[in-house]
């Protein structure tokens, strides 16, 4: 036992207290070491890392189940990778295949037993709904399945780097290591009977206990519920077996906490400044927020960055590969060129049935097609050729300016988003200002008016989109069309959302309807701060209402307008709901394009790159705004 110099505390510690202190500081150091050990253990036992270092355990597939009538079987879990382990036969319906059954699960079974397994699961297949196709499991002489000669090449294992980055990367290990280090340091300092160390130890124990309790509850639920969509009964035994040990771990900490709390003012010595005390208090309060932000924001962001440098895809067994900035290159490549239009018999530009001009093919496109012809089929699959994004007619001539890109849909999504943002923000600001000024004057029923104004803001954007979808139906059964026809403004029903109709205007109109009242409310608050005397004085001086508006209202409203402008612009750049509900995938916004890439084509890596581009975009806008519109922050 180390000899501890008696501190300048109120009294000397007793024998027992010295022993207790050894135990408590030991506990702290053990916790720190456990953190390091747990991290190491998690890395070493991680499945993909094991694969990376030892090679994949099970290459290829044993059996395939092929559906006779694929349409009759509902596809579900479209996005969920097949889980191995138990004979979990519910999985992806991929074309006409139901599932690929792993070698390990069914070797040794007879074909009848396998059929029984398939019939048994949730999909409810009968014997004649499917047929089993052998890959390299075959029934032997005894009727049992065993491995035939392997003709399938081994799957490629992920590299160690990819496996590590996918599962751990930097944020989480950094946090665990820092915490481990902190705990060890605390344990050491505690032995010097330092009162500051003691107080920090209390905080550390407190949050650790709370964290363990939350982990126990979480573990109880996750381990008891079994499969996600499954209707398995709650497995209490399993849930308890995972969560009780965690709860037990809390006990020593509770004891340590209570003991420390009792003796802290007696046995520990040292001075602590008010600042130090306050700092500790502040950080104590911030712990849960920081944990949440680390888990739900920092880690996903990091993961998205990392994935964007790979060609990862969902639902394949192929491991991801590093492709560096390839995704970004595809997204940001663009070229401009000019093309003449195709002339019709009268020497005018020919037009398609819906009225758009027919353009010639450009040289760039020819070059790209040549390149494709000279490639092998493997190279062809990987090659991203330049394709047309948009063509605009140059004023007063028969030539068009053509924009091409390696990902023309992405370029179009940028253009759509920018057009949407600009138009909707300008309209909403103007309309909002008008509405605000109308509501600003006191009149009876003003309260009711403000309630009415809140409603469009309060309903989900999706609901307003669906609502307007009903109103703006593109045939004569749409009430808006009927209204316009009754008023004599149009002859025929207009298709408001079709690709050839005024879809951008319609989308903007929906958003303007939803958001202008909200803008009006914001501006109203700003208006109400302006003292009425200013207006009175100006009237006395003979200034007209219009002049008053420009010299008094606008300048004083500037800070409110600036804030409303920033938040509204950032919201508009992120637009998702209206584009997703009202338009198809050929007319995306940046956010819906990201979503489509992730969910429809399942290109995890590529979608991540799109996400990072959006992030950079928004960041640039924010910086520009803060510079030019200049909001003051303390």
């Amino acid at each position: 036992m180390t000899l501890i110099p008696p501190g300048a505390g109120r009294r000397r510690p007793t024998e027992q207290e010295m022993i207790a202190l050894e135990l408590v500081s030991g506990l702290l150091m053990i916790i720190g070491l456990v953190a390091f050990a747990a991290l190491f253990y998690a890395i070493v036992t991680n499945d993909s890392i094991q694969e990376a270092t030892q090679g994949p355990e099970i290459p290829g597939v044993g059996l395939d189940v092929v559906l006779r009538e694929p349409e009759d079987v509902e596809s579900y879990f479209e996005l969920r990778p097949i889980t191995g382990g138990q004979a979990d036969l519910t999985g992806i319906k991929d074309g006409d295949r139901l599932v690929s059954i792993d070698r390990v699960e069914v070797s040794g079974l007879t074909l009848d037993e396998v059929r029984a397994l398939i019939r048994e699961d949730d999909v409810k297949l009968e014997d004649d709904d499917f047929e089993i196709v052998f890959d390299f499991l075959r029934p032997g002489a005894d009727g049992r399945l065993s491995e035939a000669e392997r003709t399938v090449p081994k799957n490629v294992a992920p590299t160690f780097l990819i496996a590590y980055l996918n599962s751990f990367a930097f944020v989480l290990p950094l946090i665990v290591i820092s915490l481990g280090y902190l705990f060890i340091r605390l344990g050491i300092r505690l032995r010097r009977y330092d009162v500051v160390a003691a107080r920090w130890s209390l905080v550390a124990f407190l949050w650790l206990m709370i964290g363990l309790f939350v982990a126990a509850v979480w573990s109880f639920w996750v381990n008891g519920k079994g499969g996600i969509i499954g209707d398995d009964p709650f497995d209490y035994g399993r849930a308890l077996s995972y969560s009780v040990p965690i709860l037990l771990a809390i006990i020593p900490m509770l004891i340590a906490y209570r003991w420390l709390d009792q003796v802290i003012n007696e046995v520990f010595s040292g001075e602590e400044s008010l600042t130090s005390r306050q700092t500790r208090f502040a950080w104590t309060l911030l712990v849960p927020t920081l944990v949440v932000l680390a888990l739900v924001a920092a880690r996903p962001l990091e993961q998205t960055f990392i994935k964007s440098l790979t060609d990862d895809e969902f639902g394949t067994n192929r491991p991801a590969r590093f492709i560096g900035l390839d995704n970004y290159q595809t997204l940001t490549s663009f070229k401009f060129t000019t093309v003449p239009c195709v002339k019709d018999g009268d020497g005018e530009c020919a037009r398609t049935p819906n009225g758009s001009i027919v353009w010639e093919t450009s040289d760039v496109e020819e070059v790209e097609r040549e390149k494709l012809r000279s490639m092998s089929s493997d190279e062809r699959r990987k090659f991203k050729r330049y394709d047309v994004a948009a063509t605009w007619r140059l004023m007063g001539s028969d030539t068009g300016l053509r924009l091409l890109g390696r990902d023309p849909t992405f370029l179009n999504s940028i253009s759509n988003t920018l057009r949407f943002t600009f138009t909707s923000v300008v309209l909403e600001l103007t309309l909002g200002l008008i509405i605000a000024m109308v509501v600003n004057s006191s009149f009876r029923g003003r309260g009711l008016m403000r309630t009415a104004m809140l409603v469009p803001w309060a309903i989900p954007t999706v609901v307003s989109a669906v609502l307007w979808q009903v109103i703006l139906r593109g045939d004569q059964t749409g009430i808006f069309n009927k209204l316009l026809m009754d008023l004599g403004l149009i002859d025929q029903a207009k298709q408001w959302f079709s690709t050839t109709g005024p879809w951008m205007n319609s989308i903007v109109a929906v958003d303007v309807w939803k958001t202008s009242p909200f803008m009006a409310l914001l501006l109203l608050a700003g208006l109400q701060i302006i003292p009425a005397d200013l207006y009175e004085a100006a009237s006395v001086d003979g200034a007209s209402k219009v002049r008053q508006f420009f010299t008094i209202t606008l300048p004083l409203l500037r800070p409110t307008i600036a804030v409303a402008l920033i938040f509204r612009t950032l919201d508009a750049l992120r637009v998702f709901d209206v584009f997703q509900v009202l338009l198809d995938t050929t007319r995306p916004s940046m956010a819906t394009y990201n979503y489509n890439r992730l969910v429809l084509t399942r290109s995890d890596g590529y979608a991540s790159a799109v996400g990072v581009m959006i992030f950079i975009f928004i960041l640039l806008f924010t910086i520009l705004y803060v510079r030019f519109v200049g909001i003051e922050r303390e």
Partner: protein, 280 residues
């Protein structure tokens, strides 16, 4: 005399403007209301301002649809849990950020602000992997896990400015009386900011209720976990035609609780919304 005439015209014009604004805001709902009393086949044949033969069939179908009722419950559950969590955790953080001077305060504050402007779509792929690994894909828990990414920074930001606005003497008085910082926080400051908590909670509740991106990504796959926006967007109706009337009825049903909320808490909501904008 002329002035009186001008004044009268001005007033009439003003009232017309007021009515126009009110109509602009409410008209779509009135129409949805009217169309919800017609059958879908009637709607698909002819556009009318008023129902020709009002019937409650759409509402009947809706209320008998257990799935749809369940989505309302899911939305309420997810929003409540998220808001409760954000208020508790957020008020802790807001107290620290709003009333304690400590090293690193500005950095944390700026980080929180940055989070409110964060594009959620950008981390969708990362979140998707995490939700998958945690085995909560397809359940409402996935939403309870991911919603704090926007409710928490918002709550912290708004509550911080409220805490800052409280007079400094409170802590000093409590300190003199021998209260620990935590006691000051829990017994004195929290009750004082109760109105702010209600307002912030309301605004966070509405934004969680309306959220579509995460809900679509994580619950589309499971009918029993879907929330209101997802269900409405994918509403298939009960027949084989395009379910226009059913959608209208669903819209009405879904808007009613929101209307109630807004009616009761109208002033609080406006206070909360504008506090952010005006103070900047």
């Amino acid at each position: 005399m002329r002035k009186q005439a001008l004044g009268l015209i001005g007033r009439v014009f003003f009232w017309l403007l007021v009515l126009a604004v009110a109509f602009y805001t409410i008209a779509p709902f009135i129409y949805a209301f009217s169309i919800s009393f017609r059958t879908n086949s009637q709607v698909l044949v002819e556009a009318r301002y008023l129902p020709e033969d009002p019937s409650l069939i759409n509402y009947q179908n809706l209320f008998e649809d257990a799935d749809f009722m369940r989505t309302m419950f899911n939305s309420a559950l997810v929003a409540s849990v998220t808001v409760l969590f954000s208020l508790v955790v957020g008020s802790f953080a807001a107290y620290a950020l709003g009333r304690v001077r400590f090293k690193g305060r500005m950095m944390v504050l700026y980080t929180v602000l940055a989070m409110t402007m964060f594009p959620q779509i950008s981390i969708l792929s990362g979140l998707f992997s995490i939700v998958n690994d945690l085995d909560i894909y397809g359940s409402t828990v996935a939403l309870m896990f991911t919603y704090p990414i926007f409710t928490l920074p918002f709550t912290v930001w708004v509550l911080t400015s409220f805490f800052q606005g409280l007079p400094a003497e409170i802590e000093q008085a409590a300190l003199v009386d021998g209260a620990t910082p935590f006691q000051t926080f829990w017994r004195i400051l929290v009750p004082l900011t109760a109105p702010a908590l209600v307002t912030t909670g309301l605004l966070a509740f509405i934004s969680a209720w309306n959220e579509y991106l995460f809900a679509l990504t994580f619950t589309l796959v499971s009918k029993t976990s879907q929330t209101v926006p997802v269900a409405i967007a994918n509403f298939g109706g009960y027949g084989f035609e395009v379910p226009v009337a059913d959608r209208a009825a669903a819209t009405v049903v879904v808007t009613v609780p929101v209307l109630v909320l807004v009616l009761i808490f109208q002033r609080r909501i406006i206070e909360g919304l504008t506090a952010g904008a005006v103070k900047g």
